[in-house]
Every structure is written in structure tokens, then in C-alpha cells.
Amino acid sequence: MSEKQSVLVVDDENLIVYSVSEYLAERGFAVKATTSPEEALSMIENERFDVVITDLRMIPVSGTEIIKHLRRSGFEGKIIVISAYFEEYEKELRELKVDALLDKPFNLSRLLEVISTYR
């Protein structure tokens, strides 16, 4: 039997975090979610995730900082970036080599399709 894929959802919009995590949890994923990017950093330190879904423009820690932290800590899972405006982070994202970019507003079904390819 296959173990549930663990997913971390990080976004400073409470309702987005809620809808994404509910949607994935209903579909058999082990989901942890936070609206605090700082809390996300400590969760990454202490737990193992297969997939990290993160927003980019967040205060005080941006999504790119979270991805850099993941890369430094030897994270081997997949990184999906969800953002309303990628352009300002375009250069950093090219260097960080994330696995998927989803423009907001994205369909939850599309997110599921992407994650399903990582099973």
C-alpha cells in the first residue's frame, strides 16, 4: 500500500490555504497548512514533506526565501509555486528551479493534476 503524500501549503491568504488544503485532504493527501511563512520555515525544519506548495509575495519571509531554505536543507520533494504575479520573481525562480508554477486564479482540479504526476 502506498503512503499518503505529505503536502505543505503556505499562503498568507487564509481562504486560499483553507480551500487548497481541504481539497487535497479530501483527495487523500496528508496536508499541513499555514498562513505564516515563518512558521512554514520551522515546519520544514521539523517535518518531512513530499510536496511544498507556496505563494511568493509574503511578509516578512517571501516564498523565494522558503524555497532557498528548502534547497539549502537538501529538500528532495517537489515544489509548486502559486502566485498572482510571477514577473517580479522571474529571475530568482529560474535559478531556484521549481517544479511547477500555477498562476492565480488557478483551478483546484489543475493543481490536483499536477500533484498527481508526482506520485
Binding site: L15, S19, K104, P105, F106
Partner: protein
């Protein structure tokens, strides 16, 4: 550096004034110089004239003749003069006495003379020997020479002044034309540069604003979309609520389309452009228009001269541009009216698409502002005035133009031209 409006006027006037002043200063200097020479010549003439008078006086007064040893031989007198004591007083007392003596003793004793010399010995003893005949003719010749010189000189002066004035007039006209041309060119260039600067500033602020707006609107759109996706599972597939859910999803996508259009307008050209059939793009825009807003009592009249009208562009962009113009036209007719959409090839190089409404119209003073970002006359909440600004940006990006003709109460005609696809 930007010149103020005052200096724009003062600068060329100063230049022209300086030029006119230097021209007149030059003419004045030239004439003064000639005047000086004239005065000098007149003084010379006066001198000659005096000299002649002296000779005449001497001749009229009497001629003393003498032999080669300068002994006075004769005196052809003039009684009038010889009677003048002053004349005799000017001579050496010995001569005066001799003349007096000759006059008195011999009266007039004319002897043959070899030459016509006059020797004046003045009181102090200095002597002057004058060859009257030669002096007279020499002076005559000198006077004639001076008069000829002066005549020539004056002719030259007149010729020079005429030539000078002709050349000056030509130079003046050429310079004035050049200055006026340069000024107009400078003025036009400056206006173009200022316009370009204002446009680029507008575009820069629009770019920054668009990014912020995109971020702030896309998050709530995501929430709406996700919320709907969660809810739609709870309805049966044939429920009428499914239609509501579908409608909400479409509205989200339309809002996202507007944001994309705004971002692409603010951020530069699209990645590619294709050969588009303009009538079909117009049809799509009209279709979306009907879904997007209530047309009420508005009657739409289409006139496409032919269906084979192609222009280069991005379908989504052009459709958005047409839609924005159509929405503007419809919103200008709240009580209903007629919206005519025409599409045809007006010349070999371009297509013309006109949107004519019978709405409120725009005052002439505001026509220049209507396609500025955020300009709006609509008080309805939600109108932020980006429609025509985005439309113009898209049309111009594909090499077209957008022009608006309007009058209050008579409606508005928006004319779009697009280059024909090769």
C-alpha cells in the same frame, strides 16, 4: 532641461532683435566712415578753393614781374588793390617802397617777361616764389582730380551701400527663415519629446500599478474560484445551481482576462502576432459584449464590407481592444440608441473599423483625455477608466491608430485603423 513657455517666446525674439541691431550697427558704422571721408574731402576742396581765391586775389590785385635776378621788372596793377594799404603792408618794406616807387615813378612800364613769377617777400624776410601759371593750372587739375575722385567715391559708396543692403536683405531673410524654421522644429521636437516623456511616465506608473492591482485582485479571484469548485460538488449535475456556478467561474475568468490584458498592455508587446480575420474577431467581441453587459434598448448594426479582412495581431488582445471600445459605446447610451460597427479596407495598406454610437458624446476639450489611463466620465462604481487606454495601447502595438471624434449630445465615433496582413 525644459524651457518655460516665456523663454520659448523670448528666446527667438532676442535672437532676431540681436540680428537686427547688429545689422543696423554695421550700416551705421559704414555710413559714418564714409561721412568722415566726405568731410575730409570737403575740407580739401575748401583749401583748394581758398588757394584759388588767393591766386585770383593776387591776379586781381596786380602782378609784379621781375627779371631772372628777381629784381622787380613790372607791376601790372589794379588800382583798386594797389590803393589798399593792407596789401602793401604785407610786403617787405623794400618791395612795398619799390612798388610804390614804380607805381608812382613809372606808372606802368611793361617789359617783356620770360615767365610769370611772383615773389613775395614777407615782412619777416622769408620769400615765396610762385609760378602763377603753373600753380594755377596745377591747382585746377588738382581740384578736378579731387572732384573726380569724390564723384567716383560717391558712386562707389552708393554702389557699395546698395550691394550691402541687397546682401544684408538676403542674409536677413535667410537667417530669419532659418531661425523661424529652427524654432518651429525645436518647438515641435520638444512637444514630441514632452509627449513621449509623459507617455512613458504614464506607462511606467501604469506598469507599477498594474502589477499591484493584478496581485491584489487575483487573490480574491482565486478564493472565489476555489469556493465555487468546492461548492459545485454538492449540487446535482442537472441543478440550475450548476448554471450559477458556471456563471461565477466565467466571471472569474473574464476578470482574469482583463487583468492579463492590462498587464500585457503595461508591460510591452505580446510574444507573437498572427494573421487575424478582423470581422471574426469583431464578432467574438460583440458576442462577449452581449454576455458581459445588458444591451437594453441598444440596437447593433454591423456592416462588414467583406469577410476577407486580415490584420496582424494577437486574437485575445485585439478582441479585448474591440470589446473595450464597444463597452464604452454602450455605456454612453444608457437610454438606448444605435451602435454601428463598420469594417472595411479603406486603402491598400490599411483596414478601417469604426464604432459609431448615438450616445452622450464627449466635449471637445476632453477628447484628448479619453484614452488616458484612469480617465472616466462614468460615475458608476467599478469604472476605473482603463478601457480606451488599453484599447489604444493594443491597437498601436500592432501598428494601428485609434481616433475619436465626438460632440456632446451627438454621439461618438471611434475609428481604428490596422495595417493589412501581407
Amino acid at each position: 532641461m525644459r524651457l518655460s513657455e516665456t523663454s520659448k517666446i523670448v528666446f527667438p525674439i532676442l535672437l532676431i532683435a540681436l540680428f537686427v541691431f547688429s545689422t543696423f550697427a554695421w550700416v551705421y558704422h559704414f555710413q559714418s566712415y564714409q561721412m568722415g571721408r566726405t568731410i575730409e574731402a570737403e575740407r580739401l576742396l575748401d583749401e583748394i578753393s581758398e588757394g584759388m581765391q588767393e591766386i585770383n586775389w593776387t591776379i586781381q590785385s596786380g602782378i609784379l614781374t621781375h627779371d631772372e635776378r628777381y629784381a622787380v621788372q613790372s607791376a601790372r596793377h589794379s588800382l583798386r588793390v594797389f590803393e589798399r594799404l593792407a596789401f602793401l603792408e604785407k610786403l617787405h618794406p623794400a618791395d612795398a617802397a619799390a612798388i610804390r616807387s614804380m607805381y608812382l615813378d613809372h606808372y606802368v612800364k611793361i617789359v617783356s617777361i620770360n615767365s610769370l613769377f611772383l615773389e613775395n617777400r614777407l615782412e619777416e624776410g622769408s620769400a615765396r616764389l610762385v609760378d602763377l601759371e603753373k600753380s594755377y593750372s596745377r591747382m585746377n587739375a588738382e581740384m578736378q582730380r579731387v572732384i573726380d575722385l569724390q564723384t567716383d567715391h560717391y558712386r562707389k559708396v552708393v554702389r557699395n551701400i546698395n550691394a550691402f543692403m541687397a546682401v544684408t536683405s538676403v542674409i536677413f531673410t535667410v537667417l530669419l527663415t532659418l531661425i523661424a524654421g529652427l524654432f518651429m522644429r525645436y518647438s515641435r521636437k520638444r512637444k514630441e519629446a514632452e509627449k513621449a516623456l509623459v507617455e512613458s511616465e504614464k506607462m511606467a506608473s501604469l506598469g507599477t500599478l498594474s502589477a499591484g492591482v493584478a496581485h491584489e485582485i487575483r487573490n480574491p479571484l482565486t478564493i472565489i474560484l476555489h469556493g465555487v469548485e468546492h461548492l459545485e460538488g454538492s449540487f446535482s449535475s442537472d441543478s440550475s445551481r450548476q448554471d450559477i456556478v458556471k456563471g461565477i467561474k466565467q466571471a472569474v475568468l473574464r476578470a482574469e482576462g482583463i487583468i492579463k490584458g492590462l498587464l500585457s498592455f503595461a508591460q510591452g508587446p505580446s510574444a507573437g502576432s498572427e494573421k487575424l480575420n478582423v470581422p471574426s474577431v469583431l464578432d467574438q467581441a460583440l458576442l462577449i459584449l452581449g454576455q458581459q453587459i445588458d444591451l437594453g434598448n441598444i440596437c447593433i448594426e454591423k456592416e462588414f464590407l467583406t469577410d476577407a479582412l486580415d490584420a496582424p495581431g494577437d486574437r485575445v488582445h485585439l478582441r479585448q481592444a474591440f470589446l473595450n471600445i464597444l463597452v464604452n459605446a454602450v455605456e454612453a447610451m444608457p437610454g438606448g440608441g444605435i451602435l454601428k460597427v463598420f469594417c472595411g479596407q479603406t486603402n491598400t495598406d490599411s483596414l478601417s473599423i469604426t464604432f459609431t454610437d448615438t450616445g452622450e458624446g464627449i466635449p471637445e476639450s476632453e477628447i484628448g483625455n479619453v484614452s488616458d489611463p484612469f480617465y472616466t466620465t462614468k460615475q458608476k462604481f467599478g469604472n476605473i477608466g482603463l478601457g480606451l487606454s488599453v484599447a489604444r495601447g493594443i491597437i498601436e502595438r500592432y501598428g494601428g491608430t485609434l481616433k475619436i471624434v465626438s460632440a456632446p449630445g451627438k454621439g461618438t465615433r471611434t475609428t481604428v485603423t490596422l495595417p493589412v496582413s501581407g
